[in-house]
């Protein structure tokens, strides 16, 4: 039995989200029969909630017949899974060699200054969380970045500013 509760999915920056455990339960039910279900379950939870809240760890452990330590161990091992909510948009900048060769370090420095935060941090207005990424596979056209699901190649400081302005809705 699936519950219709999409309206309550927190999309933005809930500082103290009340996680809907029924929704999480139905996600786990949907994937738990897959062999090696853990990653599909965690992806589905993060896709729905924006992160994997610590409060869902006991649920996953119970449903997959694992210890909480094992579940926490998996969540914390993978860079992709976040344990706290992110800003409204996630900005990933590639720091790997091919992008370094065309100025990624300068772009990273610019981004940190422009957003006023370090990697894994969020700008004070809650709009942008800055994350490093090790290769987006666009290595002939660096420096590369991704804002939410959109890839951008040959990103200069100016282009970075333009893209973020557009995301803020200010032209």
């Amino acid at each position: 039995m699936k519950m219709q509760i999409e309206a309550s999915v927190p999309q933005a920056v809930p500082s103290d989200p009340s996680v809907d455990l029924n929704q999480v339960r139905s996600i786990i039910q949907e994937f738990k029969m897959l062999p090696g279900a853990m990653l599909p379950v965690l992806h589905a939870i993060q896709d729905a909630l924006g992160y994997v809240p610590p409060s869902v760890v006991p649920l996953i452990a119970d449903e997959l017949n694992l210890s909480r330590a094992e579940v926490h161990g998996v969540i914390s091992f993978y860079h992709h899974f976040r344990q706290q909510p992110a800003g409204r948009h996630i900005v990933q900048i590639c720091r790997a060699e091919a992008c370094q060769a065309v100025g990624a370090d300068a772009l990273v420095a610019h981004a940190k200054a422009a957003l006023g935060c370090d990697f894994h941090g969020t700008s004070s207005d809650g709009q942008f969380t800055l994350e490093p990424v090790y290769c987006l596979g666009q290595c002939a056209c660096g420096p590369n970045m991704q804002i939410d699901d959109d890839l951008h190649a040959r990103v200069s400081s100016d282009k970075f500013n333009r893209l973020l302005r557009a995301k803020r809705g200010v032209q």
Binding site: H80, A101, V102, D105, C139
Partner: protein
């Protein structure tokens, strides 16, 4: 119908690099301009030709062949219509017949034969371009003959380790088990590589066909493609193609009426470089931390869920259809020595003409960097190239006449890896690159073995001391590298010293300038 008969076919790539450069906006502008002018067109979202400095590369089908325009921006589209590009008209971005562009014409594309030509999601297009010819032949052969064909082709693992693919298959085929698996390692995490991504986005049926042939060869019925989470477009293309193949009976129960069944699924990684190591990948597929396993047992004997498992890289599996379609003798006719066939190489970083170059083994670095790549994008001299990803050494120009084959590269202390070549101009600080190699290892180590987990962190500290003016620490760095090389469980720890020591050996003048502390 009439409108379609006279409609001009226009190609705008759907490859993610093209998208990152605005291909969707270009496609939308073309549709809008055509509608506005009352011109009927057929828009095909093809794969990329792999000439990324020209993306978005728009092609128009004419009687003479496909004529290319690039790079095209959305703002250029009206001018292209004004210039009559639908009949090959002249424009500043006109490149002539796409097949005649030297970068493309001088390649030997076997694995990438269809890429950029077809619509990646169209099964009819795939079939019209020799698609599934390999599987059709495979279905007429006994499984042992399939394994033998791949052995005879000389195909070696294209992920980097270069282990003969046929031997892995033979081991799995010979191991008795109720359930066997085919796993595709699509965790292409090496910076400077994108050939796996291109296959998945731009010709996904080829990978599916290769995995299906592998399943027939070893008696497997289930397969997984483990794709890194950084490749959402590849995941979408594969899921689409798998659904199409299932409904056309190229996958699923009794494939094409045969007795064999094969069920294929995509699994998404979660941002861990180490999961490109095959045993860590298997752990991850099982739902665990991506921690490396000790070998033996080999995955071919005890792999996924403890069952015999073929685990191959995307390009290895994607090379199988043409080997079956044309025969092992055709394939091994390319290449040199013990490196047979072709390798899709990737020119990346600070390079004027970056992209994908598939050539038989034996081309020199210089030919790739100069003839294809055209030197650096910045116009400055090349100072170093890193071949083979973050675990590959930095090579100076004095080694650019080395031939790209597995043994020739190993002879100069290099490695071919997955065929990625990252170019740096003379502004590069090699001590900083060495430090980054250690830092990357510290971030991405699975933590199972001490030399890798702790050695990488100590490595960063020691390089900082060297650069801050303690040259005596160089001996310590070499000792540390020796421990990592000889004491690590997998390639992550044992090969991170390659970029570090090569930077130190070939560019000693960069160690000791004292400016690294603040740069990092």
């Amino acid at each position: 119908m009439n409108a379609l008969d006279t409609a001009v076919t226009i190609y705008v790539p759907r490859d993610s690099t093209a998208l990152a450069l605005g291909a969707d906006q270009v496609a939308a502008a073309i549709v809008q301009q055509a509608a506005q002018r009352g011109i009927s067109i057929k828009l095909v979202r093809n794969g990329s030709r792999g000439m990324f400095w020209l993306e978005p590369l728009v092609e128009v089908a004419t009687a003479a062949g496909r004529i290319a325009y690039g790079p095209v921006e959305a703002d250029d589209v009206a001018a292209l219509f004004d210039a009559g590009f639908l009949s090959g008209g002249q424009h500043g971005s006109a490149l002539g017949l796409v097949e005649e562009i030297p970068y493309l014409k001088q390649q030997e594309r076997l694995t990438f034969a269809r890429v950029g030509i077809t619509d990646p999601l169209s099964l009819p297009d795939y079939l019209a371009h020799e698609g599934y010819a390999g599987l059709r032949r495979a279905l007429t052969m006994p499984s042992a003959a399939l394994v033998q064909e791949v052995l005879d082709s000389g195909l070696r693992g294209r992920g980097g380790a270069a282990f003969p693919t046929g031997i892995k298959w033979k081991t799995v085929a010979a191991t008795v088990a109720a359930q066997k698996y085919i796993v595709c390692n699509a965790d292409e995490g090496d910076s400077g590589t994108f050939s796996d991504r291109m296959v998945m986005e731009d010709d996904p049926f080829m990978l599916i066909e290769g995995m299906t042939i592998a399943a027939l060869a070893v008696g497997a019925t289930r397969g997984y493609i483990y794709v890194r989470s950084e490749y959402p477009h590849a995941i979408a293309a594969l899921n689409h193609a798998i659904a199409t193949a299932n409904s056309a009976n190229y996958l699923g129960d009794n494939i094409l009426g045969s007795a064999s069944s094969f069920y294929l699924e995509v699994r998404k990684g979660a941002g861990a470089y180490i999961c490109g190591e095959e045993t860590a990948l298997l752990e991850s597929l099982e739902g665990k931390r991506g921690v490396v396993r000790a070998k033996p047992p080999l995955p071919a004997i005890e792999g996924l869920f403890g069952q015999p498992t073929v685990i191959n890289n995307v390009i290895s599996l994607a090379s199988v259809p043409i080997i079956l379609a044309r025969g092992a003798a055709f394939y091994k006719n390319y290449g040199m020595g013990r490196s047979l066939g072709t390798l899709p190489m990737q020119l990346a970083g600070n390079i004027r003409r970056g992209g994908l170059v598939e050539k038989a083994f034996g081309v020199t670095l210089r030919e790739l960097l100069q003839d294809f790549g055209g030197g650096t994008a910045s116009g400055k001299p090349i100072r170093a190239v890193q071949v083979g990803g973050p675990l590959g050494p930095y090579l100076p120009p004095s080694l650019f006449d080395t031939k790209l084959d597995y043994e020739a590269m190993a002879a100069v202390g290099g490695m071919l890896g997955h065929g990625g070549i990252v170019v740096f101009d003379d502004s590069v600080d090699m001590a900083k690159q060495a430090r980054y190699a250690m830092e990357f290892c510290a971030v991405e180590s699975c933590g199972k073995c001490t030399p890798c987990r702790i050695g990488s962190t100590r490595g960063v500290e020691v390089i900082d001391k060297i650069v801050a003016g303690q040259p005596q620490q160089i001996k310590l760095l070499r000792d540390l590298c020796d421990t990592m090389v000889n004491g690590s469980l997998c390639a992550m720890g044992s090969m991170t010293p390659l970029p570090v020591l090569s930077a130190l050996d070939h560019f000693p003048e960069d160690f000791g300038k004292g400016e690294l502390g603040q740069a990092a």
